[in-house]
């Protein structure tokens, strides 16, 4: 008796015990298990059949697809268009370099022990956009110019999301700090900015950027549609970001501000060294949520005539040469978005774990 009191009750182990406990604990649960099991088997196996077993991967003509399974041949054939849009074939190495550098910057972030992990990340945030800025449009260093109207596909999606994310975070931080400023003028401006941009749908912003903005700009000062869309997306996004970050700023206990004040740290040092590191850490889930939703919202540029990944796929499935490939196209797009968004999400969870110092003030 005394012996058994010391130990927690032994957990029953083994798959049979587990199933008995969780799946067949009563006649009602057994029935549910059987019904659900039947539904899973009858639905998953056709899905796997369609996706892989009966699907066609090789060939060159639409007629090579059997029609019983997915026609991945179509994705395979048009992959170049889905990735680069109308970017000239012989210049696509420039985009490939950027893709490569993107991998160099971010893949190490998932490998805990990678020696130059931080340097890679820093490069991704600073060097990479600069290189991209010169390499992709060309026009400098003897590189042939590629108009932004020719950019498209996954490359365009990534450019929009990357720049949107990269620019909206610092602007959001500034707006959030401004909204909590003691100076009425600054606070007023930030409140107006945030409330105006946040209250407008992104589609409206994009239409305004592509159609109305040129009307207001003086003659001769006209920049391309992509830049206008980018500015619109960034400002719109930064208003959301500001509110997420403000949530974090408000969660910092007053004592932290006072301790920093008492140590003689001025406003900027207090904000940069004490408040922001804690506030941002606290709202990582919110920030990442915003990033992911921005990543997917970039598909809206379709309506102002930019061909992002979804746009390129959609224009291809209406191509009379390929019939009945809509499902394959959309599954492919969904998969691509899922890979990137899931990657962002995993990275943020990683980051949260790493930054946790176990202190709840």
């Amino acid at each position: 008796m005394a012996e058994s009191m010391k130990r927690p009750p032994r957990k029953i182990q083994g798959p049979v015990a587990w199933m008995r406990q969780h799946l067949f604990s009563s006649w009602y649960n057994s029935l549910l298990t059987i019904v659900v099991g039947y539904l899973v088997v009858t639905n998953v196996s056709p899905l796997i059949n369609w996706l892989f077993l009966e699907a066609n991967f090789v060939g060159s003509e639409p007629s090579d697809c059997s029609g019983t399974g997915a026609c991945w041949l179509f994705v395979n054939q048009r992959l170049n268009f889905f990735i680069y849009g109308f970017y000239p074939d012989d210049l696509q190495w420039r985009v490939d370099i950027i893709f490569g550098l993107l991998a160099v910057a971010f893949v190490p972030q998932f490998i805990e022990k990678f020696p130059a992990r931080k340097a890679c990340g820093l490069f991704g945030l600073t060097g990479l956009p600069i290189i991209g800025y010169f390499l992709i449009p060309g026009g400098t260093f003897g590189l042939e110019v590629v108009e932004s109207t020719k950019w498209g596909g996954l490359m365009l999606t990534l450019i929009l999301a990357y720049i949107g994310i990269l620019a909206s975070l610092p602007i959001g931080i500034v707006l959030a700090l401004g909204r909590r400023s003691d100076m009425p003028m600054i606070r007023g401006l930030c409140v107006v900015f945030i409330e105006v941009w946040r209250a407008v749908p992104l589609i409206t912003v994009l239409f305004m950027a592509s159609v109305m903005l040129p009307l207001f700009l003086p003659d001769g000062m006209n920049f391309e549609k992509l830049s206008r869309a980018l500015i619109g997306i960034t400002l719109w996004q930064s208003a959301y970001m500001a509110e997420v970050i403000r949530g974090g700023l408000q969660a910092i206990p007053r004592g932290q501000y006072e301790a920093a004040d008492a140590l003689g740290l001025g406003y900027w040092k207090k904000t940069g060294l004490i408040i922001l590191p804690q506030a941002l850490k606290m709202v990582i889930p919110g920030i990442v949520n915003t990033f992911i939703s921005l990543f997917k919202d970039t598909t809206l540029v379709l309506i102002i005539g930019l061909f992002d990944l979804l746009g390129t796929v959609q224009s291809t499935i209406t191509d009379p040469a390929w019939q009945n490939v809509a499902i394959e196209g959309y599954v492919f797009v969904a998969f691509c978005f899922w890979v990137f968004c899931f990657g962002i999400s995993r990275y943020s969870q990683n980051l949260e774990r790493k930054l946790d110092t176990g202190h709840k003030t």
Binding site: P253, G255, Q256, E258, A259, A260, D261, A262, L263, G264, L265, G266, K269, L273, I274, P277, Q278, K281, L355, T357, G358, H359, K360, T361
Partner: protein, 269 residues
């Protein structure tokens, strides 16, 4: 009431003798006719106080009497609306540069420690010396380790505040304030948030500090501490300084009825 206040506080003139070896040192803090309001609420009423270099002052009083607010005015965590506060020959006004100068010379320890949870103990200590005093990192870290030894927790330097006990956190907070090599230390109820068994380790550090000649102002309910280290005990009630006296006189022969009833209550058991 206003008149008796003035009479009371006149005894704090620098000329009037107070016991202790600090009697003929110059003033480091001067508070003259200071008032503070929160909105319409008059929290501090006509405070007058002079503190000499190296003097150790304990402020006590019932909760809501304004004692915390008072010492928080001394490094301008709170703003006063009338009267003068002069710390180390600098008057506290809206001038941010003056405030920053004063804050560099005045260390503060809070009831809830307020350590920076995202930084290690050592980083907590070095932050301000490096960023405000511009001390080279190596030197700041060596200094910090010295202070950690002084508060008897050098082995916790690499830990995060969240991994320490309350008493240890408060000692880190004291060390953090000392790292700025302040001329004055303010303590705002430093032991009130601690479990009883941790109070002593913090008080020991404070007593050691008092022995080193640091100017200290301490809001506390630890009457034992007041008796051992204070040069003067100040009793505040309702935003006023009701009575101030050397600890022996204060505890054995309080003059004011309000002080008497307060002491009766806290010393009853």
């Amino acid at each position: 009431m206003g008149n008796t206040m003035t009479d009371q506080t006149q005894t704090t003139d620098p000329q009037s003798p107070t016991p202790g070896e600090t009697a003929n040192k110059p003033d480091i803090i001067r508070v003259e006719g200071m008032h503070k309001w929160y909105g319409d609420f008059h929290v501090l009423r006509d405070l007058n106080l002079n503190v000499r270099h190296g003097e150790r002052i304990v402020i006590c009083g019932p909760s809501g009497s304004g004692k915390s607010t008072f010492i928080r005015c001394l490094n301008r965590l709170e703003e006063h609306q009338q009267g003068k506060i002069i710390v180390d020959d600098i008057e506290l006004t809206d001038d941010v540069r003056h405030i920053d100068t004063v804050r560099r010379e005045v260390g503060m320890v809070f009831q809830h420690f307020n350590l920076f949870p995202h930084l290690t103990v050592l980083e907590n200590l070095c932050l301000s010396p490096i960023w405000v005093r511009k001390t080279p990192r190596k030197e700041a870290e060596a200094d910090a380790m010295e202070y950690l030894k002084r508060v008897k927790i050098p082995d916790q330097a690499k830990k995060f505040p969240g991994q320490l006990s309350g008493g240890q956190q408060q000692r880190v907070a004291i060390a953090r304030a000392l790292c700025m090599k302040p001329k004055i230390m303010l303590f705002d109820e430093p032991t009130s948030a601690l479990d009883p068994e941790m109070i002593k380790e913090v008080l020991d550090v404070m007593i050691e500090l008092a022995g080193s000649g640091m100017t200290m102002m301490c809001v506390t309910h630890e009457m034992g501490f007041a008796k051992t280290v204070a040069d003067r005990v100040i009793f505040m009630d309702d935003g006023e300084i009701v009575e101030e006296a050397p600890p022996h006189d204060f505890f054995t022969n309080p003059q004011e009825p309000r002080t008497q009833s307060f002491l009766q209550q806290i010393l009853a058991h």
